[in-house]
Symmetry: none
């Protein structure tokens, strides 16, 4: 099955926007057993869009376009594709009602230009947009119009904003693909998510024990991102499910305590789930991570059941006032020290009544380092559920990566204590 993605948008070719659609769509498709063959990005210009779509329709079974369905003058994808296909556009009353309702609910006037989003090529299936105004469109292009392959091509047009595109793909396009392009035989893709260990060390521990399975056709992949390594198992054919289960059992035997979750799990969602199940409350005291850990926890729906407070104490005065850190500790050991981290965590526990508290203090950089405490120095303290534990990694990265890696280490410390793995 040949799949091609066409991302339209001058902002992509000008380099103003990172194309996250490519990775997101490719990943969702490959997790479902379908690998994209080609991705193209073109500007919002008639000849470029039509040429790219024409070429893709000449080769592919499924073509997915993104962008260009909105209300402004550079949203031209819908019109250009209708023209290319020789289809007339008509106004869809249901879409008009949806767009009007969208603005009414938000108590905003509807600009007249927004009505163009209700124009639908004849024969197209409308994919309602639950998070915006422009609907997606799906069309079956008959064999012979652009290629002779003995089967039709599906063309799916998705709106550009990620928060509109993603649920539309998951809820509406994925079922369409499953129906129109069923996978023959079994297919299982499972991702085991680890943190706290490098890619080559994961491979060293599991590649040998998994060899009989990989020799028999199991695909094993590693995806290392900063602060975490995914192990991906892909099994195909009739025995896919038992092969994947056996592979997972072997991997868990060798690196089980480092696996924090599966597939779409995030460390923060696992923690909210585990703390909620145990009816335990958390407090956070953050200096160098600046609210990043609180933000991750509160990204999880239901976080209010586990988070009492996050105290972003950037100044020494705030550490004293809100966490009760002793001025003598700050003066004697410095704000970035094991003693301060310990008092921050214990102070956050005492001031909130939480069951656990995480505290972080360090030097994110790029400035602020000294010879004794260079950029990247971090102290992470965990109070509650046992003696207060302080770890002292060195995270030399750019500022945002520093925050992410430090938050991973802090949340993993908490996960291990909450689950009784031992820290």
């Amino acid at each position: 099955m040949q799949i091609e993605i066409i991302n339209t948008g001058s902002e992509l070719l000008l380099g103003y926007v990172l194309n996250t659609h490519q990775q997101w769509l490719c990943r969702r498709l490959s997790d479902g057993g379908r690998v994209v063959a080609r991705q193209v990005a073109v500007a919002d210009e008639g000849p470029a869009i039509q040429q790219a779509v024409r070429e893709a329709l000449g080769r592919a079974d499924l073509v997915i376009t993104t962008g260009g369905l909105g209300p402004t003058s550079d949203d031209i994808t819908r019109d250009l594709i209708a023209e290319l296909l020789g289809k007339k556009l008509h106004e869809d009353a249901q879409v008009v009602a949806h767009v009007e309702n969208f603005f009414a609910q938000r108590k905003r006037p509807m600009p007249a230009s927004c009505r163009v989003q209700a124009m639908v090529p004849e024969g197209a299936i409308v994919l309602p947009n639950a998070h915006g105004t422009a609907p997606g469109l799906a069309m079956e292009i008959p064999d012979g119009q652009f290629r002779h392959a003995g089967r039709s091509t599906w063309l799916v047009m998705l709106p550009g904003p990620p928060r509109e595109l993603r649920p539309m793909f998951t809820d509406q396009v994925r079922p369409l693909i499953a129906r129109e392009f069923p996978i023959e035989g079994g297919f299982v893709c499972r991702t085991l998510k680890t943190t706290g260990i490098g890619e080559s060390f994961v491979e060293e521990r599991i590649a040998g024990p998994l060899k009989p399975l990989t020799d028999a056709g199991l695909e094993l992949g590693y995806c290392a991102r900063t602060g975490e390594v995914d192990v991906r198992i892909i099994a195909r054919g009739d025995g896919a499910e038992p092969a994947a289960a056996e592979a997972e059992r072997i991997i868990r035997k060798h690196v089980g305590d480092l696996i924090y979750g599966l597939d779409d799990d995030e460390l923060e969602s696992v923690l909210v789930r585990e703390l909620t199940a145990r009816k335990k409350m958390l407090a956070l005291a953050e200096a160098c991570t600046g609210g990043f850990i609180a933000n991750r926890i509160t990204n999880v729906s239901g976080a209010s059941a586990v988070l009492l407070a996050g105290l972003v104490t950037y100044s020494n005065a705030a550490k004293e006032k809100f966490l009760g850190v002793n001025p003598a500790t700050l003066a004697g050991h410095g704000a970035v020290s094991e003693a301060t981290a310990r008092e921050m965590a214990e102070g956050a526990m005492a001031n909130t009544g939480a069951d656990y508290a995480l505290a972080v203090t360090g030097i994110a950089g790029p400035t602020g380092g000294t010879e004794a405490k260079p950029v990247g120095t971090v102290f992470i303290a965990l109070a509650g559920g046992g003696p207060t534990k302080v770890i002292n990694p060195t995270n030399r990265y750019d500022r945002e990566t520093f925050k992410f890696v430090t938050s991973q280490q802090a949340l993993e410390l908490l996960r291990r204590r909450v689950l009784g793995i031992g820290v």
Copy 2:
């Protein structure tokens, strides 16, 4: 001038890696007045790579490929392109010496497979790799071999790792492009960043007044992301600079107070800059945004000069303890109310001694809404620099978008007050 980029790498099509090369290269080129016409990503497979390169050489004046120059078995771009061009490969003694030296300097043995990186197609210019082993390659393809355009095509092959590709492009490829493809006349590209207004309203206000300029060839583009709209001006030719300046003047006349910055500015970086310049300190009190605003501010290097503390008060008890919110206010008006938002902001000011405080309380959802206060209800309070101001938008989005949009509104409220625009 037609430029095309070809990114090779199966990991891109599997969705395991985000293609940052596209944005980076497109941005560097567009800032220099050369806009990429098309970008393609293909897997590490012979037919796919050769087809993409053949097509691009049939259209473009400059083709840039990324990836596939390394030593492992999936690094096949160099061989495939040499084959496509009908060029023999020979071992380049200088590259061999560089690779050997690279390993010697790091006191590591050189794997035999690394020698393949010294294979150079005949006639190619070697682009030395200062940060890795695989050199880049540049070749001039004569007119007539793949297209008839009256001029030759340049093909530039760059290695995949960003830390190798980026300096190689900046130091070696940019000068080559400037020499081979000089820009005739002027080129100006400017982005004005707005928030607080929808894309179609921006267009409604400025498209008319700008019509004489756009009729005369000025390009005008809009890029709407949730919570902000970029307006992009591109002017070319001899009068580019005055045309762009006149366009900016007209845009500022009609939506000037909504423009928070230019080009790479972010709202948080603008605020840290403006507060630092005025020696003013900020405190944050966040309920529903859960630390997102503090995180944005602390992403900016130098944030410690302006941020005293961020208090993520998820529970009522935390609102009372850390912000001094009156329990009667919480009982009488609820945690999500104008009165609570006001007391949170004023309490954060009082408890930290800040010059300004922003407070946010609302219902992020997806659960927690009521008929009187549906999901998306937000109260944002700004204290300091004038009477406390509370705004009450309705932000019905998924959880993460809710946080972003709410943070934009809060930071924009602060920006307007700090700059004296009036809120």
